[in-house]
Symmetry: C2
Subunit: 233 residues, 2 copies
């Protein structure tokens, strides 16, 4: 039996691939491991059955035999450790790739999430216009540092794509279409390099198929059969 992941039944980003099943799908596609998907509604995510898998009532989860995991970074690392293709063999290079995974999620992403929090919950507040630039300057500072380190390299550590790049590209994708990312052409090009990878495209198409399937046939049937391979209810 292939591993089973969970994803949103109703894509909150309308298939842009920003939900956290996306890096897990991408990692599985990079290593060539087929997977099944179980879709969950916003309601059922908060029910005890799902919370037994994910105590914070979110997606994704990952079930493989006796093992059940939540937290996308941990799932991607588990996949990277279990198959070849996402971590270098050299021990030091591997430690650095994992370092970039943490850097993506702990240092670069949090201010980007703050910006989204502002967008979703504060855009009608009187303070939004004054506060947003404070958050954006924090993001800009992180992007400056990241861009300087990346330089003209293809990937963050030497010339080989790793799980660190996978998570960093996925984090930066949250800024697509913003001036923030456009200010850093090296980072825009870095994101584009990630997005043209065949594994990225397969993962992206698979999550998009849920949204387009739902759009066309909302409530009429099995969303999981709408396009993506390796899916089941």
């Amino acid at each position: 039996m292939p591993p089973i992941i969970t994803a949103f039944e109703e894509s909150p980003d309308r298939g842009q691939g920003l939900a956290r099943d996306m890096p897990v799908r991408w990692a599985l596609e990079e290593v060539g491991q087929p997977y099944d998907v179980r879709l969950v509604s916003f309601g059922s995510m908060k029910e005890p059955a799902h919370r037994a898998l994910h105590p914070f009532g979110q997606i994704p989860t990952f079930e493989d035999g006796d093992l059940a995991l939540f937290e996308s970074g941990a799932i991607v690392l588990h996949i990277a450790e279990s198959y070849t293709g996402l971590l270098p063999e050299d021990a030091n290079a591997k430690a650095r790739a994992i370092m970039w995974m943490f850097a993506a999620l702990s240092t670069v992403e949090p201010p980007i999430i703050q910006r989204e929090f502002s967008h979703y919950f504060e855009r009608d507040k009187s303070w939004h216009k004054e506060r947003l630039p404070m958050v954006e300057n924090l993001i800009r500072s992180r992007l400056e540092d990241l861009s300087r380190r990346l330089g003209d390299g293809d990937w963050l550590d030497c010339e080989t794509f790793s799980a660190g790049d996978l998570l960093m590209v996925q984090v930066l994708r949250r800024l697509k279409g913003t001036n923030l990312l456009r200010e850093f052409p090296e980072l825009s090009a870095y994101v584009a390099r990630g997005e043209v990878r065949p594994a990225f495209k397969r993962a992206f198409d698979a999550q998009l198929a849920i949204f387009t399937g739902k759009s066309r046939h909302r409530g009429e049937g099995d969303a999981c059969s709408a396009g993506a391979s390796h899916m089941r209810r």
Copy 2:
């Protein structure tokens, strides 16, 4: 030569052990690995020499032979992988311990950092009083979920302390003295269980010694000789 970590020359939290060298020190103490400390000023952190080690110009860094790492979560994981005592031997239990490391840093910590951001940069703003409860409700939601999962267990996954508990306790320590943490007695007790560990105490005392040494002898000499073992300039 023991590994070398970097820490703040001037403790911004006055020795409360909330800076990110603390989890690295704690991990090294748990596995019994002596270490050296190089103190860096706020100015020198942003200089090219330090940025070569840490592209975001922060602490901690970790140097061990040919390997140089930044990002406290990655350093703790590297220590946990390199020595015994912080990760279970069973493969599935190990994956779950690493999952809790990511959960601490990616799910529980970010809203806590948002609250600190508000405290430091927005407490004089007109909106602070209205906005703070929004952030605190987000934190509260995470703590509720975490507390429910912990239940009456000693540690997050079975009865053995792991690197996941180390990071989670350290994240929750940021809320010490707040009503938020007091609302969850199980989590307060969990933090206390972490803090009475001998390795925690040694790590805490070592970072405190820098602050108290600086307080008594500010500018008069070698802060690194002020109390903690395994330290050098």
